[in-house]
Symmetry: C2
Subunit: 485 residues, 2 copies
């Protein structure tokens, strides 16, 4: 699962806890190798123009400029995105913009980046129009989970590969652009080769990943990707962050803080200095950054058990299929009951006031907030390790995607905006699990955050293999500050 | 589904919104008819000694005293309940206490009141030892849901009946005892005849229900009972109450109330005067009792939509089986991850102080709390009506069980104690859905509780058919105050 064999790109061995993984380092110097690695793919069709579709279509086109590989965008009839795709240079005239089924019918690699619900409803129609031997490309494992849930499978005789950037679409594009000046900037990706009838799946996936600008690419399976992706967004990437800031904001307010101070001690601490510290210096550095290690340890000890229980629960629900069945039921209700937004929570009315203080009064790292957050991140790392995920997948899905992609975005907007504007599967998952995390912090962690620290838990954190795995991942790319306009 | 035909008991026609239902009124004067109605059942075996098992065994024995029908209690080997069952007069010597499989093998009616998890694990062993033609008795539809989930069914040629008291075990016993002086006191029950090979299922179920002390008995199906029971405990009976008091307590604290005042305005208001007002005078009376109808209407309008969405979501999850699959997954995790308690939430440390004020300072009905609570109760009523449940089931499962059984119990202990000590399926459900309700109140309802009321929603409440259905149900029994020691 975590070895890669390529006839085109040089693989490297990365030392991870308990062994090694094969990875492939990206870089602009490799772009000339892309056509060869694509093994006969001359038309790439990107279906969908959401944040991920747009980012991937643009990055692929830029990376393949000057070659004979054409990148086209396919949209549904009447799609509101036509104008924006044209504005970005995809046109009907040169056949780089068209109806999704026509684009699917003429491409050698069809990358499915339409929304999950649309994919669930229309995958069969797309499969039916594919050219013989055309490669099916995915960027996460949702479709695999959906096909399992409904008892279907991918069509025979088509390669099925996945390239899964460990960051949201906006980051995939933004860091690619930064990569023009800082070679190595980009969002890491995992690849999975799910069906490989012509044995070129790995090279094609690597080419796609390198063309997206991935600093390094690691291998996984579609199933493993699906599990870590769906669990991760319900836990530390979105759901747990939302639950934590809701719990902490009220906790600080009841303790006497005004609204802006409570916001800064909860949300602002996490999306700002905690995320930056982890990104640049790793998880353990947060503990020192608080300047109050004992308070951090107490909070960490109080939170770790309850959130580990929750991550295990989410993992079970995703692995056994109940989570995806719930998502399908929720999608069906949306026709008559539109999804409500979470931005009505009182905290978010103070976002502007908090953001305005950034220049004049940098926020300190509150040790209570830091202990809760790091405990949650570590609980996810440990649960993924216990379930047998490869270390690259663990640290990318639990740490790097959070601190290099999602948290900076939340810092620029706010947490509620992020949740209300992410993919529908992620939104539904956050609404299901965020409140569970909130309750765990409020009812189980915070009441004990002043109790003596648990030395076994603290030592387990200090000795956690994640530090080594993160350091290995960090060696493969420069740390880049993401500015979100 | 809601008609009853009995060769022994007199049926009555109750007018309900949109039609009539057949019901059977209980009473001690009917006890002499019980042996005849049981049609050949001479040994009743009650398996389990939880609150419901104890209450039913005691009520059945008392009601059948002086007849030739024997009530025995069956317990698992090594059960910690043996001593308590002996203390209550069930003994090995007279064969009214024994091993559960032996009791099951010798009874003509085997009432399965062991915990859901034990039932899920052991139903097959019990089915195998039954006498030919022995009646299987249930008190809720969990086993039906479980058998569906695992693709099994009840054994052939056995009558399967259910008597489902609309209250917790402690109330079933306590109101039965009050019924000695106040004839008519008791907990209503629904009956379902799921398999009826000898055509005596209805009479047996009625006899069992009347022997439990049910003031009136109405008919349902096991499936309908299952749905309303499992949804109800996740919504207004437990989950929504827990979510609401957590949300309101913090809301009042942030608004400046001290802990005791915030507790009184949230929990105490609901479990005390709101429950009593609904029990004695119906739902609409709560609105007047606030003395602030406009504030009530605003809160009601802000909460109704979000909580109706949630009740619909719970209903879907229960009806489609995902909820029960999640319960089974949770049961499996309990072996390595014991269930945590919710009583650590800061509010509950003030229970004693709040209770101490009851005599000297009766709590007022806070209009915000009342509006949120009544909106939630009405949302469940409306969702059940939209899904086709009979009105007796709707008002018993949404209103009467809450105000006559669960809320008085919560008033005597507290909400967290109630949740931490109810059935495991209910506990797991409350933990899953309580936080969702909390989030809906915090993020969607409370931020808009000051907005102008929605006249359509308010009129819909004032004209709600539930008022008529509740009044019809109230005519069948005196209102009894439950004291919980």
């Amino acid at each position: 699962m975590n070895s890669i064999s390529s006839s085109v790109f040089r693989t490297e061995t990365m030392t991870v806890p308990g062994g090694t993984e094969t990875v492939v380092r990206g870089g602009r110097d490799l772009f000339p190798l892309l056509p060869q690695a694509l093994h006969g793919v001359r038309r790439i069709g990107v279906l969908g123009w959401g944040p991920q579709g747009r980012a991937q279509a643009l990055n692929l086109r830029d990376s393949l400029a000057g070659t004979d590989v054409v990148v086209s965008v396919g949209l549904r009839p009447g799609s509101a995105s036509v104008a924006d795709a044209r504005r970005h240079g995809f046109t009907e005239e040169d056949r780089t913009l068209g109806d999704w089924l026509e684009v699917a019918a003429t491409a050698d690699l069809v990358i499915l980046l339409i929304a999950d619900a649309a994919l669930a409803a229309n995958h069969q129609r797309i499969f039916e129009v594919l050219r013989p031997g055309a490669t099916i490309g995915l960027s996460h494992g949702f479709l695999l989970g959906h096909l399992r849930t409904i008892g279907r499978d991918f069509p025979d005789a088509h390669p099925v590969i996945a390239v899964c950037p460990k960051g949201m679409g906006d980051s995939v594009r933004r860091l690619y652009e930064q990569g023009r000046s800082v070679n190595g900037a980009g969002i890491n990706a995992s690849i999975a080769v799910h069906a490989d009838p012509d044995r070129h799946g790995t090279d094609r996936a690597l080419a796609w990943s390198i063309a997206l600008g991935s600093p390094y690419t690691f291998a996984t399976t579609l199933r493993s990707e699906y599990l870590s992706d769906i669990v991760g967004e319900r836990a530390i990437l979105l759901g747990a962050v939302h639950g934590q800031v809701e719990a902490l904001y009220r906790h600080f307010r009841i303790a006497g803080d005004d609204a802006v101070t409570a916001y800064r001690r909860s949300t602002e601490t996490i999306t700002g200095p905690i995320a930056r510290t982890i990104s640049s210096s790793g998880l353990a550095a947060v503990r020192s950054a608080t300047g109050a290690e004992d308070a951090f340890d107490r909070a960490y000890s109080a939170a770790y058990g309850p959130v580990r229980d929750l991550v295990a629960e989410i993992y079970d629900e995703v692995a056994e299929g109940t989570e995806l069945r719930s998502v399908i039921l929720a999608e069906q209700r949306l026709a008559t009951r539109p999804m409500t937004e979470i931005s009505g929570s009182p905290m978010w009315s103070h976002s502007a006031a908090v953001h305005a203080l950034r220049a004049s009064e940098p926020v300190a790292v509150d040790p209570l907030t830091a202990g809760l957050f790091v405990a949650t991140m570590t609980a996810q790392v440990d649960e993924f390790a216990a379930r047998g995920h490869a270390w690259s997948e663990i640290v990318n899905e639990s740490v790097i995607e959070a601190v290099d992609s999602l948290l900076p975005y939340m810092h620029a907007r706010d947490v509620a905006y992020m949740v209300d504007n992410c993919s529908r599967t992620a939104r539904l998952g956050t609404r299901r699990w965020g409140p569970r995390f909130q309750a765990a912090y409020e009812q189980l962690a915070l009441p004990h955050a002043g109790d003596p620290a648990d030395p076994t838990l603290v030592q387990g954190f200090l000795d956690n293999p994640a530090h080594e795995a993160l350091a290995a991942a960090a060696m493969l790319r420069p740390t880049v500050d993401i500015s979100v306009s």
